[in-house]
């Protein structure tokens, strides 16, 4: 269990647990939601003990996740305020995607892309929760027009959100040395210096 004591702490245990609770809930929601989204995905209902169970469970998992997302939001929103450096970073994101980060502007704890992701997910989460409640016929009877709008918004925001999460997960896989931040909370100094130099300086005083 001895890790390099020079590693930098990026997330504490509470932050990591909160993130995993939201992440696991999201996967359950995406799988059960897609099952109703299009017949091609309907077999996914078998993962939940059958289609009726998937229908019953999905909204409860949704409300559960919404609650924990609010906590996650409160932990991180201050760190995700956009700055000019972020906008500069975003305008040159193509270089980054090409795998060349030499000329990218120096970033703090989060880069512009991560911040856009944060706010995109926040907007989607609000849309998903409100529209999901409109669709929840077993609990609420809303006027029919609202239920219809809810269905359209839920399906559209759901697709956008699944795409965002895929990019989010891929970015973590692509950037080596990142995933450990969500397992046990630390990253190496070199990782920090390369990807988030301003944060590195703030943490190490260099």
């Amino acid at each position: 269990m001895i890790r390099d004591p020079k590693d930098l702490q990026r997330y504490n245990a509470g932050e990591r647990a909160n993130h995993w609770v939201v992440g696991i809930s999201f996967i359950l929601l995406a799988l059960s939601g897609l099952a109703f989204f299009h017949p091609a995905f309907f077999p996914l209902t078998q993962l939940f003990g059958g289609a009726t169970w998937a229908r019953i469970l999905h909204p409860y998992v949704g409300v559960f996740m919404a609650f924990f997302f609010v906590l996650l939001f409160l932990r991180f929103y201050k760190l995700n305020r956009m700055t000019d450096a972020d906008r500069e970073w975003l305008s040159r994101v193509k270089e980054m995607v090409d795998g060349d980060d030499h000329n990218m502007p120096i970033q703090g704890k989060y880069n512009g892309g991560q911040k856009v992701m944060f706010w995109g997910m926040t907007v989607c989460m609000v849309l998903m929760t409100v529209s999901g409640l409109f669709m929840w016929r077993a609990q609420f009877a809303v006027p029919i027009e609202l239920a219809r709008i809810g269905a359209v918004v839920h399906a559209a925001a759901g697709a956008v959100m699944i795409a965002l999460i895929m990019v989010h997960v891929y970015a973590a896989i692509w950037t080596k040395g990142t995933i450990r931040a969500m397992w046990y909370g630390t990253v190496t100094r070199a990782w920090a210096k390369q990807h988030h130099r301003a944060w590195y300086r703030q943490m190490t005083g260099r």
Partner: protein, 299 residues
């Protein structure tokens, strides 16, 4: 092979073709509103034949009883007192599923085989495949399906598909004492309606006509109305019903396209990794950091 009268034309949440070799005639129920006396024999016959019993309710001040369709009342009589040109009319309409040619319920349903449209035009709910999501309610332009509080399944008029399968008219048509409910091929029903409309016109109802709304491709329950120009007078029968544009958008081409886009994002990520390689910490920075650490140690 099943009974020919139960051949399937459309099945919910199914993207491949239904069997099409045999051609069955389309059936229809024609409700002649002008001949209805509001006795509710049809309501009783429906409960009897289908073995459903609603709770005994209470009087809500009008004859409507029960006051609305429920999972146990698949048809209800609606009574409207309408004053036009100083004349009071009592317009009574038998409400229930219209068995649309283009059924919004079936379009919206996410569960394969929970909603079936037979080749004869009858739209039937198969509760054993129903998951209770209520999408059929969201899709229906006539506000017909109801979810049971007991079992969470959706119910509505079956047009007595079980009776029709063995060449019997629906229970309501059989029970109606004035012959206001007719049943037969859709063609025959239209022909008969024509005669009734001519008769009504002769009696001064010059706006009499057939209600077979084209917005849902026509229906397999049709009305003869004395005021066909004003269907809304009959307890809010929709004037020009069609599947809501929101439902069409929700269940349209956007979904397969979104599915492709999601597959694109997943595959795009994979190929990005394969073609650009991982984003690793550079050797240079690793050495820099090591040196920094050494100077720190010597301090």
């Amino acid at each position: 092979m099943a009974l020919q009268s139960l051949d399937i034309r459309q099945r919910s949440a199914t993207t491949t073709a239904a069997p099409q070799a045999r051609h069955t005639i389309e059936v229809a129920k024609l409700i002649d509103v002008s001949a209805c006396i509001g006795c509710k024999a049809c309501q009783v016959a429906c409960m009897e034949w289908n073995d459903v019993r609603d709770e005994v309710g209470h009087c809500v001040g009008v004859y409507d009883n029960p006051a609305d369709l429920t999972e146990n009342s698949w048809t209800v009589m609606r009574y409207a007192e309408v004053e036009q040109d100083g004349k009071l009319e009592w317009l009574i309409r038998k409400d229930g599923c219209m068995h649309c040619t283009d059924p919004g319920c079936l379009k919206a349903c996410p569960s394969p085989g929970a909603i079936i449209q037979y080749a004869n035009g009858i739209v039937d709910f198969h509760q054993e495949n129903c998951i209770g999501c209520g999408y059929c309610i969201t899709g229906c332009p006539f506000n017909v399906p109801r979810i049971s509080k007991k079992d969470g399944k959706a119910y509505k008029c079956t047009l007595c598909s079980d009776r029709v399968a063995v060449n019997q008219a629906p229970a309501c048509a059989k029970a109606c004492p004035t012959g206001a409910i007719h049943f037969g091929s859709k063609e025959d029903m239209k022909d008969y309606a024509e005669k009734r409309i001519a008769d009504l016109k002769e009696r001064g109802y010059d706006k009499a006509g057939l209600y077979d709304p084209p917005g849902v491709g026509g229906t397999h329950v049709m009305y003869v109305l004395h005021h066909a120009d004003r269907p809304d007078l009959y307890s809010g029968l929709p004037v020009n019903p069609s599947i809501s544009p929101l439902v069409a958008l929700w269940k349209g081409a956007a979904k397969p396209l979104a599915t492709l886009a999601l597959a694109g994002v997943a595959l795009g990520s994979l190929f990005h990794y394969v073609m650009k390689g991982p984003n690793e910490v550079s050797k240079e920075i690793e050495e820099e950091v090591e040196k920094e650490a050494e100077t720190e140690d010597t301090k």
